[in-house]
């Protein structure tokens, strides 16, 4: 904390997943997977540009992805891609006001209608689908 400023929580507070339920976890995963996919996109451009070095250069670079580390990175990329897509659809629908409940006079204990089971199911589905896609990707990469 920087006490003399606005007492902002900063990035540490922004990415702390422990206080505000699965919705905040989804928010953090969305940011991380977005950054990860951006990094992969840049790496992918670099990788495919190796074709300019001819067939040998291209084959050498492809070898890198055939290692255990390469497989692990690609599996993570698959997971990020699926989570970002499925959760992105949920968030986009929410952004249009779809599935966020209806305004009503609040009653104690004031459970927020926008944090409803439909959206929670959407988040859990995104996580499960990402995990299944990663496992499938690993099975394909290891040729099983």
């Amino acid at each position: 904390m920087e006490p003399k400023d606005e007492n902002k929580e900063g990035i540490g507070g922004m990415i702390n997943p422990r206080r505000y339920g699965i919705e905040r976890v989804a928010y953090i995963l969305m940011r991380l997977s977005g950054l990860g996919l951006l990094a992969y996109f840049i790496g992918h451009i670099y990788e495919t540009s190796s074709i300019l070095k001819g067939e040998v250069g291209w084959a050498e670079f492809l070898e890198l992805t055939q290692t255990n580390e390469g497989h692990a990175v690609l599996a993570i990329v698959i997971g990020m891609c699926v989570f970002h897509t499925v959760n992105g659809i949920r968030v986009m629908l929410g952004h249009g006001g779809v599935g966020v409940g209806r305004p009503a006079r609040p009653d104690y204990p004031y459970l927020p209608a926008s944090q409803n089971s439909r959206h929670k199911m959407g988040i859990y589905s995104a996580i499960v689908l990402a995990a299944i896609a990663m496992l499938y990707g690993l099975a394909v990469m290891y040729g099983e």
Binding site: M1, P3, K4, D5, E6, N7, K8, E9, G10, I11, G13, M14, I15, R18, R19, Y20, G21, E23, R24, A26, Y27, M30, V91, G94, H95, G96, G97, V98, V100, G101, P103, A104, R105, P106, D107, Y108, Y110, P112, A113, S114, Q115
Partner: protein, 249 residues
């Protein structure tokens, strides 16, 4: 760091350690915590415990409060890591032997637990929190603007806001962006846009259609989870964005 024991009177049931953040931006370089051992009842609120400390041990603890009944919005603070109203949070419901109170995040600190609200009030004023019409209630022939109970239901939930700032303190965008308008102001923009008597929708949507406006909300929903009045700012913000994206008219 002080170690003090409370006067245990009457039918006290349990004891708790209250840790209070002390910090004066005028001469302190960092926050320090003072600890007080207190007796509390099942119904004792965190605010009552802090006032107990002020009365019996250290009157210099700075805390803002007024109504003591979750109505004025003055006593927001971080209690065991989450923004809550001190007068609306019972020690017993925290289920912890240690209660740590700190000033709300994303607000400048005046001293100890008291924070400055200027920015929240500025952003609240910015969205024009009043009915916008060409005519006025006084000159209108009808003398009042009629509204059906159904039309009232569209916004009454959002009119419950007490400007406590807990939502702004929990928001992950507010944690890093000093210029973000914040969930409190956005929810209030929806409150007026959804009011059938109001004609200021376009001007309000223009105000929040800004790089530090509504587009910086990513629907994390933390604002709604901490709101002590059931306002559900995240819902209002998504509906508001629905107007801007053409999902609603």
């Amino acid at each position: 760091m002080a170690q003090v024991s409370s006067v245990a009177e009457g039918k006290t049931t349990k004891s708790v350690t209250l840790r209070i953040a002390r910090y004066n931006p005028k001469h302190d370089s960092k926050k320090q915590f003072m600890e007080f051992n207190l007796q509390y009842e099942r119904w004792t609120t965190v605010l009552e415990a802090i006032l107990d400390v002020k009365k019996h041990f250290d009157h210099s603890v700075a805390v803002r409060y007024s109504c003591r009944q979750a109505t004025c919005g003055s006593c927001g603070m971080i209690i065991n890591g989450k923004p809550r109203l001190a007068c609306f949070t019972k020690i017993s419901e925290l289920e912890s032997d240690v209660v740590t109170v700190e000033p709300m995040n994303n607000f400048p600190i005046i001293r100890d637990l008291a924070v400055k609200f200027e920015r929240l009030f500025d952003t609240h004023h910015k969205i024009k929190p009043y009915l916008i019409r060409d005519d006025s209630e006084i000159t209108s022939n009808e003398k009042e603007f009629l509204q059906s109970p159904e039309e009232l239901e569209n916004y009454i939930q959002f009119a419950n806001c007490i400007k406590c700032g807990l939502c702004n303190s929990a928001c992950p965008t507010m944690a890093t962006d000093s210029s973000f308008i914040g969930p409190q102001a956005l929810a209030q923009a929806y409150r007026y846009v959804a009011d059938s008597r109001d004609k200021g929708k376009d001007s309000r949507l223009k105000i929040i259609d800004d790089s530090h406006g509504i587009w910086r909300c990513h629907f994390a929903g933390s604002c709604s989870q901490v709101c002590p009045k059931g306002v559900d700012p995240a819902m209002g913000i998504q509906f508001l964005r629905g107007y801007m994206l053409g999902f609603r008219s």
